[in-house]
Symmetry: D2
């Protein structure tokens, strides 16, 4: 009765998903694992005391009839091939971002999935499962602030390592806003322009930091999104939607408030891991429950993975040109037309 998971990629995020499926959530179990590093796969099975087969590669794992769902947590460039193979085998897929490293790769998955006649794939954009975002979307969808006109979003990290270069502000950081914001306002992106403000002295040589992305949607909503990955003070995700009748804000992450040393303060997270901890749990539980109850996942689709890829490409181009760059999506297939709604509260 439990959904049987095969996990491709037993690095940090892979192990976290294994842990939550095994020890925190209901209705799933891990029955197979693989990793390009077989030692890692072996250690993982031992660490979580799994009753799971260790496969030499994704192809073998996918071929296991006991595997209902393939979790793709390998490194990004490997995603496309694994997802395609799993979809072609008719298996459900939970794929961490990116769905594929290119828009064309995403489109190949979209087409493979449509060929199977039902939704099989969910992409790991967990923000849609964060209780704050869910509340914010609800407020918008219920007309609390009227038609959205502008969005302001902020994605700040205290600092990043030497290997974090300018493009990663899009591919690793902004990518979460890219998925969340079009979902939030039920619209599609049209163009993006990037501006580089004065660079913080805390940024390494190879990264422009902060960066400002101005994204326009088809209906004319203007989104100003700040990425600032050496902001020093904490991990801070903000989102504010300005509508015709009012403004709605993503709640601050809850924290004890103190009066101390001349300050009335609440804490700001330092470590991004805590910010969406609950969202990850809700995300995977919803994935399990939706397959169980409706036969298909209800979360971010392959099409959402495609949107993210096309948009990210335009954002990277805009980083380079300094010009307003078009975001050109193919027409949305009817197959994906029913917006998947996260009903979780």
């Amino acid at each position: 009765m439990s959904l049987r998971f095969g996990v491709v990629g037993t690095g940090a995020i892979g192990r976290e998903h294994i842990d939550r499926i095994t020890n925190k959530l209901s209705g799933g179990k891990v029955v197979a694992v693989t990793d390009v590093n077989q030692d890692s796969a072996l250690q993982t099975v031992e660490q979580y005391n799994l009753d799971a087969v260790i496969y030499p590669d994704d192809v073998a794992l996918i071929a296991d009839n006991n595997v209902d769902v393939v979790v793709v947590t390998s490194w990004g460039p490997a995603h496309e091939a694994t997802v395609l193979a799993a979809v072609e085998a008719g298996k459900y897929v939970f794929c961490e971002k990116p769905l594929a490293t290119t828009a064309d790769g995403c489109m190949r998955i979209v087409e493979a999935e449509m060929k199977q006649g039902k939704k099989l794939v969910q992409v790991g954009f967990m923000r849609r499962y964060d209780s704050g975002y869910v509340q914010l979307k609800e407020a918008i969808d219920q007309g609390e602030i009227g038609q959205p006109l502008m969005v302001r979003a902020v994605h700040r990290n205290p600092e990043v390592g030497e290997n974090y270069v300018t493009e990663m502000a899009v591919v690793d950081t902004l990518i979460h806003e890219i998925d969340a914001l079009h979902w939030l306002v039920n619209d599609d992106y049209k163009s993006v322009q990037v501006v580089f403000p004065r660079k913080t002295k805390y940024a390494h040589d190879k990264v422009q930091d902060p960066q400002l992305f101005m994204i326009e949607t088809n209906s004319g909503i203007v989104m100003n999104v700040e990425v600032f990955v050496n902001c020093k003070y904490g991990y801070d995700i903000q989102c504010e939607v300005i509508g015709e009748d009012g403004v709605a804000y993503l709640p601050e992450f809850p924290s004890v408030v103190t009066r101390k040393n001349g300050k009335l303060s609440s804490g700001i997270l330092q470590d991004w891991k805590y910010r969406f901890m609950d969202a990850y749990d809700v995300e995977i539980q919803d994935f399990i429950d939706s397959i169980g109850k409706k036969g298909e996942p209800q979360g971010p689709t392959s099409w959402d993975g495609y949107i993210a890829a096309v948009t990210a490409d335009a954002c990277v181009k805009a980083q380079k040109t300094g010009e307003k760059e078009a975001i050109r999506l193919q027409e949305k297939p009817v197959f994906y037309s029913k917006d998947t709604v996260c009903e979780t509260v």
Copy 2:
């Protein structure tokens, strides 16, 4: 490998626990149920599609060798007998409040448990598992505000029914603060005085509302606790600890903030069910995990149940006399001396 639960009492709270054990949490399953209303037990098994035996009564359920844990969610006056029987059978017990309706009853359970030589019982005081309370306790325990001197707590409901009488302010409402506050400041209660402010016009004839409880601890901390169950505006739990070096507050329940119609606002819950929803999940998962990993539950003990009963008795007496009433606890057995700590964040 799963912990096998037998549930005594399939009313609302019993079914909720069954639902979370079955569909939301990991490591437990419901294998037996009973209820004085056998139809209710039967319906529950069907509703949740349980593979569970329906027993005619608690004695039969406890006798089932497949039952590892007895969940006591029957009506209050029945708790003591069921808990005692389960403890004497060496079974784990998760008992919703009250542990017993009298202090003597609680003491009988305490003694029975000590005779078994290990902690078997956890009382369902879920606030200790609320992330806000956990953060607040952490701040206090880490010395953020120095030695606590005063506490101010507020327990407000929008309204209550005709059957809610003055005593219930203690037994049904304040009881949660009674458990949470001594845990929060690591102290024991010494006395209580009750004051009735001007009564709200929204209260029924038979209930004094609001009520103010002034509770003193052994070390001299003074706690002012307001119970106001017809406050109209929402369900609102506040807690503030004033220490030698600062003040710490329980976080507000997170909510979207809006600017609209001349107001900068966040929402206040109307329904108490949402306030501690997550805490219930964490509570039961911790109960399962603690038994699995440490062989005994780590949450509120029988002794905490006894403290609650003695304190509630004094509060009810103080409602009647208007005087300062002593809260006289027996000496704490060494058996319970290691404070159980909720390590969950």
Copy 3:
């Protein structure tokens, strides 16, 4: 056309009033000063470059036909005699607290004033002119929260000197709440009880700190007022009124908000002088304008001074007895029956 002030007492507060009358406000000028320390009087005239006569004592100053208003900023025990003399001479009086050091003394002033047939005296309770209190009173008076049932007030100082003893928590500190709270809810006090929580380690030997005052009004409103004068973290005045339909709070003193070093913070004042700076200005300007436009001051009256004295006496007694002490006011003369309303916004 300017109101001509004679100032009795040229200490710190006296000089501040001279400064604001001379350099900040409109419609008044200082024409006479006196002080038991004549050097101080002389220095003051020089410091503010006043065109003012220096008198040997209050009697001589009051006798000056050029003096319209006597400002009483001498030390407390001297207030009564100066105020009485000024009132008997038909002069307006602005008297810093206390109006007199005894309730009987206040009553003598009340009677002298009534004999003059019009209000001459205003007592320096400046909180009624603080924009936050004014807003709070407006909200209450307009029925925003319905009938008040409870009040919670907090008066915290970072620290006090060795000379601050237990009684001063009433006479110097609580006295401001005593005036403000009955005005806020339009009610009279009935009784008071004092509780001493665990004492902070930061308090000197001779002072009990913190202290909790529980004051009841005639209509049954219960006010919990905390005085905590070694709270370390700042100067903090809080006031919260709980009504039948909602709760209203005194606004926090406005401050820049920052996100920095893992904290979202706003500042708390360290120095009480800044908290009511504007209120002092508004207070004296209103005093000048009211005399100009209506022929009598509109602020706190001699009767309010009497209420403060009687209430403070009961609070000091309650500090000593630990019992609930009655607050027994004489019947309010019709002369004072029209509540003076601060219309300033």
Copy 4:
């Protein structure tokens, strides 16, 4: 000893300044007035019971030897001529915005003032005297948030009339941010780009609303300023400065907080008049005091008026072209090089 004011223009803002000089502040008096509508001038003298000469025009008023200061509160197109005449006569000038309607006009005033050898003119940009802005600037100048990198500002009105057209978003609304923001970060503007988001349904045909201005400074600070004049919900001024070490926010306008009807709320002003009421008072008092103590005003200079004019021109051009437009200021004369600092707290 009082500074003697002659007021040119007795409309609403002129009368307000007359009222504050006469009835609220210290050290000034109105001795002369004029208006193109002589009835208005006459009514004003009567309304405020002024002992003032009514002149037929500004030239005659300026010629009066009793006039020390000329207040220019006529309509905008008349400002330049009056200011020039007053400066050439060696009189102090307090001129409401705009200093002149063209950059060239402002430059003529700058040159005339330099010829007089001392600062005579202050422009009525009152935000620099708002306690919130003063606190914010202090935090920045003291290095609280390190070097500023980005600014986000919001200027929202509930609604505007039919006569409010697109350009007025710059000339009447943004103009206050134009002055305040360069002062706040001690920098000069370099370019501006304007984006029009989806238009609110509440805006009239002739106005684009909202508008987003992206302004860059010489040092690379990027300022995103939103003007939204039909936001419906209130009058709302926000300003947030993002620096290398943290973020600082302009305080919200203080308001009573309530818990009521399921909302925790504070009020947002509806009427802009209340937002900077105190700032106007502080502004004029500082103008009077600075002339008295230092012989010249300390507030916004003619050069600030010139900066505002040049920047506004570029913003209006950018509204039309949709392109990034340069903001080209002449080199700052040494005469204005000492930044005037508002020391008022």
